[in-house]
Symmetry: C2
Subunit: 284 residues, 2 copies
């Protein structure tokens, strides 16, 4: 392991290892902590297991998914590593929301590369998640460059955008309750206007619905959305994704789940389907 990585926690789990790793991240110019789950198959001499990158939602850290999703049982069985980054740059030098709100700044990086001050130096979460983090993970752990991406809410937006912006980089993508059209909903408008500035034409490069129009790769999208999700109408609007996918001829499986809300109880219920979706594409 490289000198600039520090293991801050380690737990045995389902025969594999869950690690929390701190490192100096160049893209976001601060220390970052990510979690990695290595399945038992990764302990075999010479093994290189494929990786699902999981992007969490607003207010989360690297910890929420690993502790609450119930994903590690099947990941162990499938021989799939999971990497969960933090949801923003953090630290005393990293500017947050000026009003201390939870939906912007710390815990709310929106997986974009900010262009506006004072955010442009640190808020480069797309670059971090798509390039620096996989490079660090692949250099230091027994994982391969076969990658999938998935996420929840803000992280569902992140997963869709990472896949749509980077053809060939991910073998599969899926999302739980993603913000599919951030340019047109309050969470996204707040974040994009500050990270990317007032020119809305620049926002299209970070909006899954807009990116579908331009996509050159037709990577199938799997999306689960709870019908009892309190953010459904105002922030999530899965119908916009359906319309955009239909217009573009892009394959989308959108599953509306009656009774389910926005919580990890919802994610836990359907996470196995997303792991199998990734594993099938990764040939894990």
């Amino acid at each position: 392991m490289a000198d600039d990585l520090t293991i801050v926690a380690e737990n045995a789990c389902f025969g594999g290892r869950h690690l929390r790793v701190k490192h100096r991240a160049a893209t976001v110019a601060c220390d970052m902590t990510f979690a990695v789950y290595l399945p038992p198959a990764a302990a075999v001499e010479g093994a290189r297991v494929p990786v699902l990158y999981w992007l969490s939602g607003l207010t989360c850290t690297d910890e929420n998914f690993m502790q609450k999703a119930g994903a590690l049982r099947l990941a162990a069985e499938l021989g799939l590593a999971i990497v969960a980054p933090d949801t923003s740059p953090r630290g005393p030098d990293v500017p947050g929301d000026p009003d201390g709100a939870w939906d912007f700044g710390h815990g709310a990086g929106f997986y974009v590369d900010a262009t506006e001050e004072p955010y442009a130096t640190h808020y480069r979460m797309h670059d971090y998640v798509v390039h620096e983090l996989p490079a660090v993970v692949e250099a230091n752990f027994p994982v391969s460059d076969k990658r999938s991406v998935a996420g929840h809410s803000m992280g569902g937006h992140g997963a869709l955008v990472c896949a749509l912006r980077n053809p060939g980089r991910y073998r599969s993508v899926s999302a739980f309750a993603p913000i599919v059209n951030p340019s047109a909903v309050p969470w996204g408008e707040k974040a994009f206007s500050r990270y990317l500035g007032p020119d809305r034409s620049t926002w299209r490069a970070w909006d899954a619905c807009a990116l579908l129009e331009m996509a050159t790769e037709r990577l199938p999208l799997l999306v689960d959305q709870g019908e009892a999700d309190s953010f459904l109408g105002k922030q999530l609007q899965p119908d916009a994704l359906r319309t955009a996918a239909e217009a573009a001829g892009h394959p989308l499986t959108l599953r509306m789940q009656p009774g389910y809300d926005h919580s990890y109880f919802f994610i836990a219920t359907f996470i196995d389907d997303h792991l199998r979706h990734a594993a099938a594409a990764l040939e894990a």
Copy 2:
């Protein structure tokens, strides 16, 4: 549902329902919040499903197990309800640790019935868990009086003591990393000296190792203990349980798990075995 129960949260999960319920508890003379998971089978007209009572460890509330154990997937499949109470009485009128420590008072009721002031009024968690809570649950939810009990750490102690003190009340019992001999370890000595007073002879009625000597029912004990648990030698001492069980001729399956620590990553790894252990006894 009775007028004095309030649903404070509800989430669909694995086709069933997770509820957080607040009620006025007479035994502990304060408002208490417990969680209940009702599997899909409980929604069938006229159904009465069996219940696993889960007792959590120090600092926990009703939430930790439900969010972190990954138990609800198999509970749904087995048709098993799970009830998770809080770990102590709480509130501004409930005395806590005089020094604000985390191992006594709020979040640390130790599942005993206190006899010493100022704790005797509220700290009656054994009575609450064994009698009042099941009565409330069985009167208000579609569950039966077939009960199992399990727990972790302080709650593993609680599970063993609840089963050993109340022959016939539970169909099965199991524990993760239980405090098996609280009379002889720092956590237990601190708690028992304050809740039960200085006469150590009274402590025996709340100590699994001592209770094994007096047991009239030979309910098999299932215990998982991580070998990398940082509390193993000082607080948990599973060998004391092994010795006591052997001396009493009491059936014990003690599984030492190499590499596993005290966390919910450990619990998640082996919880399915405990659910199946309970379900087999409950004929769930």
